[in-house]
C-alpha cells in the first residue's frame, strides 16, 4: 500500500511535468500573441519590446525557458523572487537560491518560495501567491457544490430508481433534463437576477467571495447561489447515473439472494443495492472534483469568485504563460491526486480491486 502510494505520487510528478511541457510547447508553437507587445505600451518600439521580452524571459529558447521553469519548480523562486514578494524573515542563501523557512514568518506575504512558479506576465505578482490566494476560493466553491450535488443527485437518483415509472420518477428525470440542458451562465444570471434584483432580501446572497476566516457566515451566504448553480448540472448527472446504476444493481442476482435471505426491502436497497451502485460514482466524483479545480470558469465569472478557473481563462487570454502553467500544475496535480484517492477509496469499497 505504502509503496503503491509512493509510486503513484511519483507518477503524479511525471504527469505534472509532461502536462507543463505540453503547455510550453503549445504556447511556443501557437503563441496567442507576443505578450511583450502589450507591456510595451500602445506605441511600442522594438527596443521596449526587446526589453520586456528580456524581463519576461521570452528572449530565451523554449528548452531554456522550460529548464528555468523546472529549476524554479523544484528549487523555489530563489533570487528570481522580486522584492515585491520577498519574504520578511528567515532567509538563508544557499547557492544563489533563497530557501524559505516558513516557521516564524507569520506576518507578511511570502509570495515566492517553493515550489516556484515564477512571476505572472500580466500582474507581475508571484504566480504562487496568486494561486495560494485563489485556491481556497475555488475549493470552497467546489466542495460546497460537491456536497450538494452528491446529496441531491444521489437522493433523487435513488428515489427515481425505486419509484420507477411513477410521477416521482418523471419529475426527477425532468429535473435532470433541465439541469443538464440549462447553461450554467444562464442559470447563474437568472439566480442572481431573482435573488439580488427582484427579491433583494439579502445582499449577502450576491456576487463576490468572503474569506471564511473573516466572516464565516458571509462566506456561507455568498456561496449559496454559486454552490446551487454549479451543483445543479452535476446533481442532474449524478441523479441520472445513480438511477441507472441502482436499477441495474437491483436486477443483480445478489440482490435476489439478499431478498431470498429474508432481508427487509429497505435493507436490501440501502445495504446491498446502494453499495454496489455508488461505487462507480466514486470514480466519476473524484475526477469531476479535480477537473473543476481549473474548470469552474463560468460559475466563478458570473459570481465574481476570483478563483483558479477565472485565473486560467484570464491568463490564457493575456498569454500569461507563467500563470497558465501555474494553473496547469495545480489542475494536473489535482487530477492525479484525486485519481489516487479515488483508486484507494475504490479498492476499499470494492475488494475485487487491489493495488496493482
Amino acid at each position: 500500500m505504502g509503496r503503491y502510494v509512493i509510486r503513484r505520487l511519483l507518477w503524479t510528478v511525471l504527469v505534472v511535468l509532461v502536462v507543463t511541457l505540453l503547455t510550453f510547447v503549445v504556447f511556443y508553437v501557437m503563441p496567442p500573441g507576443n505578450p511583450s507587445v502589450r507591456f510595451a505600451g500602445k506605441q511600442p518600439t522594438p527596443e521596449l519590446i526587446a526589453q520586456v521580452e528580456k524581463q519576461l524571459g521570452l528572449d530565451r529558447s523554449l528548452p531554456e525557458q522550460y529548464a528555468h521553469f523546472l529549476r524554479r519548480l523544484f528549487l523555489g523562486d530563489g533570487t528570481e523572487c522580486p522584492l515585491v514578494y520577498r519574504p520578511l524573515c528567515s532567509i538563508e542563501s544557499v547557492e544563489n537560491f533563497v530557501v524559505l523557512d516558513t516557521g516564524g514568518c507569520a506576518t507578511g506575504v511570502s509570495g515566492c518560495g517553493w515550489p516556484g512558479l515564477g512571476m505572472s506576465f500580466d500582474s507581475r505578482t508571484a504566480v504562487r501567491q496568486e494561486l495560494i490566494e485563489r485556491t481556497p476560493r475555488t475549493l470552497s466553491l467546489i466542495f460546497g457544490a460537491a456536497v450538494i450535488w452528491l446529496v441531491v443527485g444521489v437522493s433523487i437518483g435513488v428515489i427515481s430508481a425505486l419509484k420507477r415509472r411513477t410521477i416521482w420518477d418523471r419529475l426527477a428525470m425532468g429535473f435532470a433534463l433541465f439541469g443538464i440542458s440549462a447553461p450554467v451562465f444562464w442559470l447563474g444570471l437568472v439566480a442572481l437576477w431573482i435573488f439580488t434584483v427582484k427579491l433583494p432580501f439579502s445582499d449577502s446572497l450576491g456576487t463576490g467571495y468572503v474569506e471564511f476566516g473573516n466572516d464565516p457566515v458571509g462566506w456561507f451566504t455568498h456561496l449559496i447561489l454559486p454552490w446551487t448553480v454549479l451543483a445543479l448540472l452535476y446533481a442532474a448527472f449524478y441523479a441520472r447515473m445513480t438511477r441507472g446504476n441502482l436499477i441495474d444493481t437491483m436486477g443483480e442476482d445478489y440482490i435476489r439472494t439478499a431478498r431470498a435471505k429474508g432481508l427487509p426491502e429497505r435493507r436490501v436497497i440501502f445495504k446491498h443495492g446502494l453499495r454496489a451502485s455508488l461505487t462507480p460514482i466514486v470514480t466519476m466524483f473524484g475526477l469531476d472534483v479535480a477537473l473543476l479545480v481549473g474548470g469552474a470558469v463560468i460559475t466563478e465569472t458570473v459570481f465574481n469568485i476570483q478563483g483558479l478557473g477565472n485565473y486560467a481563462v484570464q491568463s490564457a487570454v493575456s498569454a500569461d504563460l507563467p500563470a497558465m502553467t501555474g494553473v496547469v500544475v495545480i489542475v494536473a496535480f489535482a487530477v492525479a491526486f484525486m485519481n489516487l484517492v479515488v483508486d484507494i477509496v475504490y479498492a476499499y469499497l470494492d475488494p475485487r480491486v487491489r493495488y496493482s
Binding site: P32, G33, N34, V37, R38, F39, A40, G41, K42, Q43, P44, T45, P46, E47, L48, I49, Q51, V52, Q55, P82, L83, V84, Y85, R86, L88, G108, V109, D122, S123, R124, T125, E130, L189, L192, W193, T196, V197, P200, D203, G206, T207, G208, E300, T301, V302, F303, N304, Q306, N310, V317, A319
Partner: protein, 622 residues
Amino acid sequence: MLALSLLLALGAAGCGGDDGGDEAGTEASEGVDEGAEPGGTFRTQTDAFEWTGNFDPTGEYLATFLGLYQNLLGRTLMGYNHVPDAEGNELIPDLAEAEPEISEDGLTYTFTLREGVMWGPPLDRAVTAQDVEYAFRRIATPALVAQYGFYYLGVIKGLQEYSDAGGLTEDPEGETPIEGITVQDERTIQFDLEAPTGDFLYRIAMPAAGPIPEEVAKCFLTAGEYGRFVISSGPYMIEGSDQLDITSCDTMQAISGFNPNQRLILERNPNYDPETDTPEARENFFDRFEMTLNTNAQDIFDRVRQGQLELAYASEPSEVVREYSTNADLEDRYQINSGDRTWYITMNLTQPPFDDIHVRKAANWIMDKEGLRRAWGGEPKGLIANHIVPDTMFNNNLEDYAPYATEGDAGNLEEAQNEMRQSKYDTDQDGMCDAPQCKGVLHVTRTTDVWANMAPIIEESFAKIGIELNTRQFEDSYTIIQTVKRQVPVSSTPGWGKDYADASTFMVLFDSRSILPEGNVNYSLVGLTPETAQELGATGTVEGITSVDDAIDSCNELMDEERLDCWQELDQQLMEEIVPWVPYLQGNADFVISDAVSKYVFDQASGDPAWAHLAIDQDLQQ
C-alpha cells in the same frame, strides 16, 4: 485654436475656460451637483484590470491609470482642472507654482515647484526638484520600460544618451548628470530641449514626468515593481501606505491597498495640504475610494442601480444603454461626454483591393455609419466620425468637414459606385468590384458583442460595391492586425484615443517610422517604402505609397494656432489623398452612476470621471 488656448489657459488658470460651450454631441456636461458634501466611500467596480505597466507611473500607459493618478495620487508639474470639454484639455500649473518660463527659442523651460507639497506617508517630506529629475532618470532606464518614453527621449537634451548608457543601476556611483535637466535648487528645475516641441507641456503633464521619490523607487529597477509601492503626492494615498517600512529595500513589502488583479483602495493622504491646490482642480469630497474587480459586468450595473456601487467602470451592455437613454428617470444617472477618441475601419494600403485609392474612397462613401453606431447602442455612444481627429481636439473647427457625407450617414451607393468605376478592380465599369481580388477579402474583427453586431453591417455595405468580405473574429484581434506579416487587408477592430489634447497623438498612426514588425499601430502602412516592406515581410503593392512623415515633422515644430491649422490640414489631406481609414464614430465616454453620486464631473483630459470632483450622498448609499 487649441494650441493657442494652451498658453491662454495658462494665463487664465483658475478662472475656468473661455470656450467650454461646445457640446460636441455630449449631454449633461456639467454633471450632477446637488450640494456636494464631503465624506464617504466612493465605490466602483471594473470587469477587468488591464494595467500595462503594473501601476508604475514610469511605465503605466493605461488611460484608467492616467485619470486616477492625475486626479488622486500624484502631482505633475503641469496638470488639468479635471473638467469636461475643451476647458478640460487646458493645462494648468499643478506641482509648479506657475506656468514655466519658456525661452524665446522655445528650447528652455524653467519650472518652480510650489511650496508645501509633501510626500505622503511614510516619507513625510517635501517634494523637490530632485524628485522630478529622478522621474526622468527612470524614464530613461530601459529596464523600467517607460512605455511612452518617446515623448522625452531625444526631446530633452542628453536623455537619450543617458538611456543608451543603461540608465539607473543599482550602483548609484556611476550616475552621470543629464545634460538637459538642471536642478537649480530644491524648487527649481530647468529642461533644455533638442528642438522646439509645441506640445512639451502636455508631455510634462503625463504621470511619468511627475516626481518620484528616489529613496523608495531605487529598490525597484525592473519594470512594474514600483507599482506596488507608489508614494502619493496627491490628495489620496494607497491604503496601507503608512505601514510601509522604508528603512531598507529588504524591509519593504507591497502596500496592501493595491493588488493589481483585484483591488485599488485609496484613503486620504494626511500630508496633503489643500492650500497647495485649487478647488477648480481638485475638490476631494470622498474620504475613501475603492475600485475592485467584478468579473460579472452585468452584476456591476445591477449593483449601481441598487446603490451598492456609485459608478460602473465597465462598458455598458447595449440593454443598459437602451434602458438608461430611454428612461427619463434614469437620464441623469447616465453621463455622456466626448471621449476624444475615434473608432474606424482601417484599410491596408498594400493589400488588394485596398491598394486602389478609389476602392478606399468608395468604402468611405458606402459605409452605413449610422448602422454601425446602432450596433454600438446608438446616439449616446458618440458622433458620426467623418475624419480622423475628434472634433473636440480641433475646437470643432472641422465639425462640418465631411468629405464623404451621405444622407442619414447611411452610405451613398451612387457616389460609391462613381468611385468604384474609376478603380482598376471594376473592369466593366458598372460600379461593382468584379475582380477576383474582391472576393473573400479577409476582414479581422473582435469577438465581443459590439463588433459581432457590426460585422454584418460592414459586410453588407462592402457587398454593395462588389467586395465580399470574409469576416474572422479573434479574441486577440489587435495582436493580429498589429503584426505586419499577417497582411490583414481590412479590420474594424481599432479605435484610438488621445494621450493628451494634441493631434500629434493621432498622427503618429500615419508615421512610417512607427511601422514595426509587431505591435505596429500604423495598420494602413501609410508611408511604407519597398525597403521597409522587405525588411518587415510586408508584401503586396509596396511601391508608390505616399508618406506624410515630413508633414508630421513640420507640424510638430509649430506652436499654437499654426500648429492646429497644420494638423487640420494634414487630417484633410489624409482623408482625401490617402484615405487609410473609414472613420465612423467619435466615441463618447459614458458612465452609469448611482443615485448616491451627488456631484458628477467629467474629466476631459483623461476621458474618465473626474474623480477629484466626485461627491456622494452617504444617505443614499446602500
